[in-house]
């Protein structure tokens, strides 16, 4: 019998109850990240910043690696890296085109810097790979405390700026005319985004941050346009992917990231399918709205 994959390593739920108790903190952190990722993702989508998120995550990785090398701490280092990247992209990349090029310039630089720091780091190599692909199980208690604190800062910050940030994101011209501090809000948003990325890097890894900061919101936007339903769905998707991923990963030797990204992707695929079916249904008996939509797209 030839088995390319030993499935008992992927799914093995012996002693499951004990493991859950052991990793209660990780599950809490995962759920909080799902919540934050789902909420901030709505703004990442409406501000068209998915690529910038990826760029911030690579600098966050560089910061985490430097933190590891210099003994500052992985979480602290990744927060510093994230914030620097977010501020740079926010200050230098006000326009979408500039933002994309600045992100593209920063991203490989961050990755290279991170690889350099890891190469110089004399300690165990398990941590090295973890920063890129996720390592929640390796997180100890003080780190979890940091992550929860940062998450709470982001949640409170978002709650305060939510409506003017939404106004500034979807309609910057009118928001400016109405006296909304569009520029200041954009900086605040970048800082909150940087913090969210730093937390995500710890949990799903720098390469997979988009699966939790973008995919849930993108999925929610496929099935709704309500400013209340979209964030609620997005949070539900994010928490499902995070907690579901952690619970599945517990029973295996595989890191949590593939579980999280797969659940996240499956939800997105399902939402796309729902949207496609809806469009087909609404277009068949009532051609008028579709024609209007097409006119709108052409105009």
């Amino acid at each position: 019998m030839i088995a390319a994959v030993d499935w008992s390593q992927v799914f093995n739920f012996a002693d499951y109850g004990e493991l859950i108790v052991l990793l209660r903190n990780s599950i809490i952190a995962g759920a909080l990240l799902g919540l934050v990722g789902g909420l901030i993702g709505v703004f990442v989508m409406s501000r068209d910043m998915a690529f910038a998120v990826h760029g911030i995550s690579e600098l966050s990785f560089a910061g985490a690696s430097a933190g590891l090398l210099l003994g500052v701490g992985v979480v602290q280092g990744s927060i510093i890296g994230s914030l620097i990247a977010a501020l740079l992209i926010g200050l230098l990349g006000a326009r979408a085109r500039e933002r994309n090029s600045i992100t593209a310039v920063l991203m490989p630089f961050g990755l290279g810097l991170g690889i350099l720091c890891l190469a110089l780091y004399p300690g165990r190599s398990a941590n090295k790979f973890g920063l890129l692909t996720g390592q929640i199980v390796a997180i100890d208690d003080p780190q979890i405390g940091w992550l929860i604190a940062v998450t709470l800062v982001v949640l409170i910050g978002l709650a305060v700026v939510w409506r003017p940030l939404m106004f500034a994101s979807v309609d910057a011209d009118v928001a400016t005319a109405r006296g909304v501090p569009v520029r200041g809000l954009s900086i605040v948003f970048m800082l909150l985004l940087g913090l969210s990325v730093a937390v995500s890097v710890q949990i799903v890894g720098a390469l997979l941050v988009l699966s939790i900061l973008v995919t849930p919101a993108a999925a929610a936007l496929k099935v709704s346009a309500s400013p209340l339903v979209v964030p609620l769905l997005s949070v539900a998707f994010g928490v499902t992917a995070m907690v579901g991923g952690i619970l599945l990963a517990l029973g295996s030797s595989v890191p949590i990231s593939p579980y999280v990204t797969t659940i996240s992707f499956a939800i997105y695929a399902a939402c796309r399918a729902i949207a496609a079916v809806r469009t087909r249904r609404s277009s068949a008996p009532r051609p008028a709205p579709v024609r209007e939509a097409q006119e709108g797209a052409l105009a």
């Binding site: 305060v160 939510w162 409506r163 003017p164 106004f167 979807v170 400016t176 346009a225 105009a299």
Partner: protein, 292 residues
């Protein structure tokens, strides 16, 4: 919402006094004197690059005058004045916009307030605004799925939400078909009569609003003329303004301006197209292009 008593007085809602705007060595316009009365409909005309959009930015407090002053209800303008409504150049919302029609209007009501929880009276006010601009039937549709005309109605509803005393509209008819151009301009006309707010309407095509406009401000090559459409849109007036022969042709109730010189009076004006017929041109790409 009827116009309240304070607005029926004869104090102008907007006053420009010797207003001059210059970028580097290029004068967009200078010495502009203009009063907009409550309920008055003023069209701002001119080719691309004559500073029409910059004028709106000055009134919105986003751009300082080089010389002169601009007063809103007797006070110097400032950014974020709630008494000034603004309908920007049309831009269609894309797919990543988590807003339905009613939410776009709602932002005009409380978009600047901190927090995330909506106020209790919001729903009723938004319903009434949607009805006023004729958008009730698509109130719950995603903004990204609406046509240009439908989105423009919402923009007007959004601007009306703050109950403005002055409405600034920047090419609100650009890229709309003729029936939507008529519908949107009639909507603005009816609302300014009912609510009594002044309107400053930037356009490169006077024809859709010709029957509604009280006065025009015509900008060309750093200079300007103000007056009723009949006073300003005449061959001899525009020829003098441009400093070269220009013909104003009236045909079937429409006005066509022929022979405006290309950028001769606006040094370093790269945006100014070879100018002719700019008053009957429907090309949306013709929208004002003063980069700041």
């Amino acid at each position: 919402m009827p116009a309240d008593a304070t607005r029926s007085g004869s104090d102008p809602v907007l006053s420009l006094r010797g207003a001059t705007l210059r970028f580097d060595d290029r004068t967009l316009w200078s010495g502009v004197d203009l009063d907009v009365q409550p309920g008055e409909f003023v069209a701002v005309l001119g080719a691309n690059g004559t500073g029409k959009t910059s004028l709106l930015r000055v009134i919105l407090g986003q751009q300082r005058l080089t010389r002169g002053e601009v007063l809103f209800e007797g006070e110097p303008v400032r950014a974020g004045n709630p008494g000034i409504g603004y309908v920007p150049q049309q831009k269609l919302a894309d797919d990543g916009t988590p807003l339905r029609a009613r939410d776009l209007v709602g932002l005009g009501l409380d978009g600047g307030r901190w927090g995330f929880w909506p106020s209790r009276r919001k729903r009723a006010v938004v319903d009434r605004l949607l009805a006023e601009v004729g958008a009730t039937s698509y109130a719950r549709k995603p903004v990204s799925r609406l046509s240009g005309g439908e989105q423009q109605r919402l923009r007007i509803g959004q601007a009306l939400a703050a109950d403005p005393h002055l409405l600034l509209a920047d090419e609100p008819l650009a890229s709309l078909d003729l029936s939507n151009q008529r519908a949107i301009s009639e909507l603005i006309d009816r609302q300014r009569r009912e609510r009594g707010f002044g309107v400053l309407f930037v356009t490169h095509d006077i024809n859709p609003v010709l029957g509604m406009v009280d006065r025009v401000l015509y900008l060309a090559g750093g200079r300007f003329r103000t007056g009723t459409p009949d006073d300003v849109l005449r061959s001899e007036v525009l020829s003098e303004l441009y400093g070269s022969p220009v013909d104003v042709i009236r045909a079937r109730g429409r006005i066509i301006v022929v022979g405006t010189p290309d950028s001769g009076h606006a040094p370093h004006d790269e945006h100014h197209d070879a100018g002719h017929e700019e008053l009957c041109d429907h090309d949306p790409s013709d929208a004002e292009a003063v980069a700041l």
